[in-house]
Symmetry: C2
Subunit: 131 residues, 2 copies
DNA sequence: GCGAAAGATCTATAACAGATATAACAATTG
DNA sequence: CAATTGTTATATCTGTTATAGATCTTTCGC
């Protein structure tokens, strides 16, 4: 799957990579058991330090999205609970943002459905993430 | 409205305060036109530096949630668009997290509805311009 | 109007996080 | 075995977060 780094984005690089992989799993761009590039390879491709990639992979492992082999690169291996308290809190804050701005619940839900439709069941696996 | 600081939370204090105010607007805990504590007062109450509170208020002002008077403290004053590209991206990442963990779209939407149900119903008089 | 209170601004500092750069080690693949 | 890869460790640099104190300006209550 295609991974990239947006230097204009204020968020940390390891967080950007983490989000791209999670969205890649959701859209089906990368499936269970498939491999990500090796740490050193991805670091070379993106022209960043391999520690930064290692940190992203380590975060994905801690969150239960991948397992990191000794020489095989990281492979997708989803495990653990879906709805953690932290996840619910983040979702609540995001929904509150739109609601506080005056958006109706029905409109918010419509956008949620729209986004969910771009995931695995909705579209083909050739979906790409947008900036 | 009651504001607090969680030192065990890894997120920045100014971000915690910002999120609490946004959720407070959504739930109706604080309404349009109502005032937040003054910067110095809130800093004293929470035993934190007033610069940190000032940063939270400034962020809320930039995001279009409050206006900061010269002596009155900050008052709720919502303006601007609800669904920015950044907001949609954050929502997409959060939804992808649950979807990638195997949660069904219907279950995700159910939780969204559950959260939205805890927000303010109907809205105040200045909620919408259309009848 | 006067003075106190509050926001705004500025500088300084300490602690922490993010990212880079090397180096060395362990394990596994071919 | 040898090369590749993940892991670990150290060091450095930068930016962010938070605190601290000082000063200025505005504005509200008296």
């Amino acid at each position: 799957m295609l991974l990239y780094v947006d230097l204009t984005d204020g968020r940390p690089v390891y967080q950007q990579l983490r989000d791209q992989v999670v969205e890649g799993i959701a859209t089906g761009a990368i499936a269970e058991g498939e491999r990500l590039p090796t740490i050193r390879q991805l670091a070379a491709d993106l022209a960043i330090n391999f520690h930064t990639v290692a940190r992203a992979y380590d975060l994905l492992r801690q969150e239960g999205f991948v397992q990191v082999g000794r020489r095989n690169g990281a492979s997708i291996c989803v495990r653990g609970e879906a709805a953690s308290p932290e996840w619910r809190a983040a979702l609540r804050t995001t929904l509150a943002h739109a609601y506080a701005k005056g958006m109706a619940s029905e409109e918010i839900l419509r956008i949620c459905r729209e986004i969910l439709a771009t995931f695995q069941k909705g579209g083909t696996s050739s979906e790409t993430t947008l900036a």
